[in-house]
């Protein structure tokens, strides 16, 4: 009797997958790539497709999304992994796109989603090899620093036939950074302040090789964690080290969920003596659902915001508000309410 | 002579000496009771006779060979062992359990053949286990498990049978049945060695008795001559009485009053 029940269970276990079969969209013909080549973020040489606008894109790498959106090629996206609802709400194409995994690729779902190319992170050769075995192309991107951000815009622009837009975006960013440089140039050396960006945990900071430190420097601040490096990743130095550095400004990232609150820092006894806490110079980088300190065009906004935080006399609230409006208008053709994005500037 | 033990000493690391210069000779077909209080080296002596415990001093000769130079398989062909307090983990059928007694006759990568199965059936029948053959050995009583263990020891027809406290953990009836089985096996020609802490069992079995005291020294002799009140009192460190009971026609070992 027991044996019969077990056999039945095994049979059910084997039959279930049969009932769970998924439908796949119609396949598009695979274009043959000839002509010029590009080098991707992993240093691989790729043939640029004949008509990049015909390519269908899939990705599980959330960092890719801001680039695809900035280049205006989200209509080519078949499957994507968005960091927050901001992207799916702002762009109907992203909302309509499917999913083939979060961070890790579901190979068969990828094969079924109708994509012709996977946009993926640069240091996951296992996935790249597996996807290529499927007969699908892969473009790796590496946007850990400013150079990487520009390279990624150019690479994706070239590959997906949006070169002009890529140039336009880069020019816009350069123009903005030039404006920041002009403001910062007028700040005398003795007025310069020290600053630090803290990550998801207390004592976890952005080292000198991270975009956040570059942004502090660009906005005229002195990054106290400049000496610390960890291959472009967050590094846990501990709260004591932060007290030792004692930065005048403490910014908390919005690129990851924080396992502490601002109140923990401002009201916690341990932080009483910290210069940033005494001056009330502790803030979370905007915004809750769209991140201004992530690789992408948004780092322009993050830099403007830091400038306003550190040197309020040199850069007014109105000027910052105007820049925020211009950024969202430039990329999305519309603006979003601060309440919706989850930030206050005053 | 099947066993000759010369000057055997044994002590556990950091523990007391449990065997101290033990010498013993065992003739074929003999029945020997090894008596001693708890903690005297009765089980250790059996371990040394089986070769499972390497003796640091002294030699054990089995069938004319130095035991320490023999392969476990050769020893097992000559000696059957019935352990104390059997608690099997896996529920093999009694038949499979008994069949494992043929292991010394089967090559390492081999499996039991027809002859082995026939021998197992015979041993099962001899021990009155035929009806239980398909029951799991975890699901039978302690007495039945004892029988199965004896069947497993005799299934390969060894020359010597070593019993480690075969009557411990058994109720009164099963104790008597086991002693009768031992006597019967002795009658069939097996050399039987039994450890026990009950002098009465030694008296019942007759033959020879060896007494191990707490210092690991062994005294052996004919059971009737060796077992004297003064020796037993000294070994067990208590008052014991030996009385002849006419109705039974034998000497009985008795406790005094509490």
């Amino acid at each position: 009797m027991r044996r019969r029940i077990l056999s039945l269970l095994l049979a059910v276990a084997l039959l279930l997958p049969a009932l769970a079969g998924c439908s796949a969209p119609e396949r598009t013909a695979q274009p043959t790539a000839t002509g010029p080549a590009v080098i991707d973020g992993a240093g691989r040489v790729l043939a640029v497709p004949e008509d990049g606008s015909e390519e269908r894109i899939a990705s599980v790498y959330a960092t890719a999304v801001p680039f695809l959106a900035a280049l205006g090629i989200t209509d080519q996206v078949a499957a994507v992994n968005c960091k927050s609802i901001f992207w799916t709400n702002a762009d109907p194409n992203l909302d309509a796109a499917g999913s083939v995994g979060r961070g890790v690729v579901d190979l068969e779902a990828l094969a079924a989603c109708g994509a012709t190319v996977l946009v993926h992170r640069a240091n996951d050769s296992e996935t790249v090899e597996a996807v290529e075995r499927l007969g699908m192309d892969v473009v790796c991107i590496s946007a850990e620093d400013m150079e990487g951000i520009y390279d990624t815009l150019t690479l994706l622009g070239t590959y997906f036939d949006a070169e002009e837009r890529a140039e336009e975006v880069i020019a816009w960013m350069n123009e903005k950074f030039r404006r920041i440089d002009e403001i910062v140039a007028e700040i005398p050396e003795e007025e310069r302040v020290t600053a630090l960006v803290m990550g998801s945990e207390l004592g976890r900071v952005a080292g000198g090789d991270m975009l956040q430190s570059w942004m502090i420097q660009k906005a005229g601040g002195i990054p106290v964690a400049a000496e610390v490096e960890n291959n472009g990743n967050w590094v846990t130095v501990g709260v004591e080290t932060i007290f030792q550095w004692d930065p005048e400004f403490l910014f908390c990232t919005s690129s990851a969920a924080l396992d502490y609150t601002l109140e923990d820092i401002l009201e916690g006894d341990a932080w009483d003596a910290a210069a940033a806490v005494q001056e009330g110079h502790v803030a979370v980088i905007p915004a809750k659902i769209d991140t201004w300190d992530m690789p992408g065009v948004a780092c322009v906004l993050g830099t403007f915001w830091m400038l306003r935080q550190m040197y309020p006399d040199r850069f007014s609230l109105e000027e910052l508000e105007a820049e925020v409006e211009e950024y969202y208008t430039f990329l999305f053709g519309r603006t979003f309410a601060p309440d919706y994005l989850g930030y206050t500037l005053s | 002579m099947i066993y000759r033990i010369c000057g055997l000493s044994f002590s556990y690391p950091g523990g007391p000496t449990v065997l101290d210069g033990v010498s013993l000779e065992l003739e074929r077909g003999e029945i020997l009771s090894v008596l001693g209080p708890n903690g005297a080296g009765k089980s250790t002596l059996l371990g040394c006779m089986l070769g499972t415990l390497p003796a640091p001093a002294g030699t054990v000769w089995l069938d004319g060979q130095d035991l320490s130079r023999m392969h476990p398989r050769e020893i097992a062909r000559l000696v059957g062992y019935v352990p104390q307090n059997l608690s099997p983990v896996f529920g093999y059928t009694v038949r499979d359990f008994v069949l494992m007694g043929r292991a010394p006759l089967i090559p390492t990568l081999g499996r039991p053949g027809a002859a082995d199965r026939a021998a197992a059936e015979e041993a099962l029948t001899q021990m009155g286990l035929a009806a239980l053959a398909d029951r799991p050995c975890t699901g039978i009583s302690g007495g039945e498990r004892q029988q199965a263990s004896i069947a497993r020891a005799i299934v390969r027809r060894p020359q010597v049978l070593l019993f480690d406290e075969p009557t411990a953990h058994l109720d009164f009836g099963n104790q008597l049945r086991t002693l009768r089985v031992l006597k019967e096996l002795s009658r069939q020609g097996y050399t039987v060695v039994v450890t026990t802490h009950n002098p009465d069992h030694a008296i019942l079995l007759g033959g020879r008795t060896a007494i191990l005291d707490r210092n690991g020294r062994l005294t052996a002799g004919q059971t009737g001559e060796l077992l004297r009140e003064d020796l037993l009192c000294r070994v067990y460190q208590t008052d014991l009485k030996l009385r002849y009971v006419e109705e039974l026609g034998r000497v009985v070992c008795l406790f005094p009053n509490l």
């Binding site: 997958p17 079969g21 998924c22 890790v104 779902a109 992170r121 996951d124 597996a130 | 390492t108 990568l109």
Partner: protein, 337 residues
């Protein structure tokens, strides 16, 4: 009696496995009809030209076939080694993870990922790690001078904990965005990236030990009675047990090389097998291997067909395995196993 019971069970499980493999080739998120799948498979096996799109052929031949074969092989290997370990240690509650093999192999793999070595050397490191771990586990009781079963099990616990600390350290120094994900995915176990190129080199480390264990299966019965009794039954306990442990460890380490750590299979399947055939290892070992193949194939097919993104397989084996194991213990307490 023995033969009559064993053969139908073997045939039953063998047919179930075959049916499962055929079914698994036919299902998945990518839409290929069963008839098309089988036709593609037949065409590829016979070397015939295929009229199907390249992607369709790739999905069947590059994605489904390798992972189906891998899940069957790994399921069989883990279950076989689990049954063998439980036998030689007379302990039905232990698993291949017990000697630290899995965690040792994981450390090897994690180290290779950390050093950014090519994927081939990840397998090699994993294997070396597994062997090193088992060597430590076996050496520790010898160094202490206590060779009892319990001491070996304790030693496995000690080595296992040390290994998790080392693994934790490797994770701590790993790149949290990239390497960490890869290491975590490895420790969780997956058949996603398996290729035939990974599978074929593993066969020499899977088939001979498996054959050796099957040949030793009756001797494992005798060993399972416990060290003292096995010795009294003429078994050279150290040699035979060492051989069984070596074979079972090879099977486990090779499995980790193919798929990463997959928990519960080596613990639960031998029990299920014992319920079907009884404890006799001559029947239990082959039945466990077949059963393990069927089980892991079914679980892996589920992971790749349900949900929008693929679930690590250990989540499912744990969901199935843990309650099943609890039920086993409850049942064991009630009626004895």
């Amino acid at each position: 009696m023995k033969g009559r019971r064993a053969v139908p069970m073997g045939i039953l499980l063998g047919s179930l496995l075959l049916a499962g493999v055929v079914l698994a080739v036919c299902v998945g998120k990518y839409r290929v009809t069963p008839a098309e799948s089988l036709e593609i498979l037949a065409q590829q096996l016979l070397g015939l030209p295929s009229g199907y799109p390249e992607m369709t052929v790739n999905v069947v031949m590059e994605l489904r076939i390798p992972r189906i074969l891998a899940s069957v092989l790994v399921g069989a290997a883990l279950s076989l080694s689990g049954a063998a370990y439980q036998g030689v240690f007379s302990n039905p509650l232990i698993s291949p993870d017990f000697l630290g093999v899995s965690s040792g192999a994981c450390i090897g793999a994690a180290l290779a990922i950390l050093l950014a070595l090519p994927s081939g050397s990840i397998q090699l490191f994993a294997f070396a790690g597994g062997v090193a771990a088992v060597a430590m586990t076996v050496a520790l009781p010898a160094a202490i001078g206590n060779r009892s079963n319990i001491m070996l099990v304790l030693s496995g616990v000690i080595v296992g904990s040390a290994m998790s600390s080392v693994l934790g350290f490797i994770k701590y120094v790993a790149d949290p965005e990239t390497e960490l994900a890869a290491i975590t995915y490895w420790t969780m176990g997956s058949f996603t990236y398996v290729t035939l190129g990974d599978l074929l080199p593993a066969l020499p480390f899977l088939l001979p030990p498996a054959a050796c264990l099957l040949l030793l299966s009756w001797r494992i019965n005798v060993l399972s009675l416990g060290e003292e009794e096995a010795r009294a039954l003429g078994v050279n306990v150290r040699a035979v047990r060492g051989l069984v442990i070596l074979c079972a460890t090879l099977l486990t380490a090779s499995s980790v090389c193919i798929s990463g750590t997959i928990s519960w299979v080596g613990l639960v399947i031998p029990h299920l097998g014992r319920m079907l055939t009884g404890p006799d290892n001559t029947r239990l070992l082959p039945v466990s291997a077949l059963l393990g193949g069927v089980f892991l194939l079914a679980v892996d097919t589920l992971t790749r067909t349900i949900g929008t993104s693929e679930m690590p397989i250990s989540i499912l084996t744990g969901l199935v395995g843990a309650p099943f194991y609890a039920w086993l213990l409850w049942r064991q307490r009630r009626r004895g196993l």
